[in-house]
Structure formats: structure tokens, C-alpha cells
């Protein structure tokens, strides 16, 4: 079965915020809540890079681990969802999430913190598929319509990809090869940064075979 993931190609993202708009429009996300954001690194500096960030639907999700009422679940496709009827809006998931994905709508005269809201990978929630109840609480269930998340499908430069992780990896690898680049853009160094020091070379065998 597919493992649903997002992948953002920083070489292609032009910071148009089309993904953010598509998400807000499709899911009618409440005021003050952004399920997706575009983050720019080295903003204003030549060579700046932007990436679109939302819930990464972690395989070992920290939000799921810290939730005191266990309102999170992972679907068969690897999408992390939650039950808003059970959520108590405590905010633990917000502190646990390294991507700042959980959002809390402010409501009422005192800005009361509402139930947690986050990217659902356009997969709705634990309500009848396509129902008014599901849309009101979680947004559109595009996955049940055989579609991928609106943000990825609306991306004009196809920087943001969403879907089966294996297919996405193939698409990205294909792009990198088409760009004429190799290991300098695809690999550990790209994902986690270049090491400060070169790895130590293994000691050359001594001549003479002395022991």
C-alpha cells in the first residue's frame, strides 16, 4: 500500500503561496489557521530557497505519542489524522511537532483556544466520507474522490509533490538526473547538510607488511 508523503523541491519553489491558498480555499480553513506555510531560508539573499511546509504525516509521529487523550490515528495509507470530538486543545502536539503543523483556532470573546487543526492530506477525518460534518470539521476529503491533496496538485511549478512516497522519490530522482546533477544534490548531504569536516580516510596499508 502507498505511503502518503509530501516532498518539496526547493530548486523549484518560487514562494508564490499557491499551495497555501489552495489549501485554505479547498478546506475552508478557519481564520488565523494556516495548515500549510511557505518558509524561505536566507530571505533576500541571492540564492534564497523556499519550501512549503505542513504536516509531514510522520511514520512515527511525535504528536501521536504525546497526545494525552489519544485522539490521533494513522490510516492504512500512512496519513496521520485526529478526532476533533476527542481533542481537548491542550497544545501538547504543537510543542511536540518539529514542523509546527498543529494549529489552534482562536474563538470567542477571550480568544479561547479551539480544537487542534492540521493538514489532513485532504483525507478528511473520522466522519462519513464527503459528509457536511466531515467538511466542517476537517475539510475536503479528496482522497476518497481519488484525488491527491489540493496544494500539491495546484502547485504551478510542481515543486510540491504529494502522494505515494516511492513514486515521489522516483519523480525527484528523475528531475535531478535531468538537471545534470548527481550526488551533490541528491543524497545525505542535501537532506542533512554537508559535514564540517571531511570523513577520515582509512589508514593506508603500510609498505613492507610489518606488523
Amino acid at each position: 500500500m502507498a505511503r502518503m508523503k509530501f516532498l518539496c523541491d526547493a530548486e523549484r519553489c518560487i514562494e508564490c503561496n499557491g499551495c497555501v491558498t489552495a489549501c485554505k480555499n479547498t478546506n475552508e480553513v478557519p481564520w488565523g489557521v494556516n495548515r500549510r506555510r511557505v518558509v524561505t531560508l536566507n530571505d533576500g539573499v541571492p540564492g534564497e530557497k523556499s519550501i512549503s511546509v505542513a504536516c509531514m504525516h510522520c511514520s512515527d509521529a511525535p504528536c501521536m505519542a504525546v497526545c494525552p487523550v489519544d485522539c490521533f490515528y494513522r490510516t492504512e495509507e500512512g496519513v496521520v489524522l485526529h478526532d476533533k470530538d476527542l481533542c481537548i486543545g491542550c497544545g501538547y502536539c504543537f510543542y511536540a511537532c518539529p514542523f509546527g503543523a498543529p494549529q489552534f483556532p482562536q474563538s470567542g470573546a477571550f480568544g479561547l483556544r479551539g480544537k487542534m487543526d492540521k493538514c489532513t492530506f485532504c483525507a478528511g477525518g473520522p466522519e462519513k466520507d464527503g459528509s457536511e460534518e466531515e467538511f466542517r470539521k476537517y475539510g475536503k476529503n479528496r482522497l476518497a474522490e481519488g484525488k491527491l491533496p489540493a496544494c500539491a496538485e495546484m502547485c504551478s511549478t510542481k515543486a510540491l509533490l504529494g502522494g505515494d512516497a516511492d513514486v515521489l522519490a522516483d519523480i525527484y530522482r528523475d528531475r535531478v538526473l535531468k538537471r545534470g546533477k548527481g550526488s551533490e544534490i541528491w543524497g545525505w548531504a542535501t537532506a542533512y547538510g554537508k559535514p564540517d569536516q571531511k570523513p577520515q580516510q582509512p589508514a593506508a596499508p603500510q609498505a613492507g607488511g610489518q606488523s
Binding site: 500500500m1 470530538d85 466520507d129 464527503g130 474522490e145 522516483d170 519523480i171
Partner: protein, 75 residues
Amino acid sequence: MRGRLIVVAAAAIAAVGLAGCGEKDQVVVYKQGKYQGKADTKPWDSPEFGGDKAKWEERIKARNLSQNEYRRMGG
């Protein structure tokens, strides 16, 4: 007369006492680490796919692959 009152009082106490037995749990009984919310349906259980998982997977795969514009251009 007094005996009758005792019987009535005993019956009333028993009725009130037994009413407590019908009380439902007001809170969710938590099982640590287990999802406590409502069950969700599978995406292929929607009216559009009618439980046909293969059809759903095929549609999703086609959408997935169409994200590769090199493939769309035939390059």
C-alpha cells in the same frame, strides 16, 4: 402499619440503589497508546469507488505519475 412502611421504605431504597447500576460511564476508558476516537472509513469505501480498492489505487497512481511533467511530455 409500621411493617408496611418499612417494606415501602426498603422497596424505595432498593429502587434508588438499583438505579445506580444502570449508570453508564461518563468518560472514555483510556487505553494508553490506543486511538480512542471514532472509526474512520477507507477512502475506497466512498460512493465513488464502492469498496473497490484496486480501482482507487489505480486512480491515485495515475494522479501520482501525472505530477512528473517529464513523463507527460514524453521526455
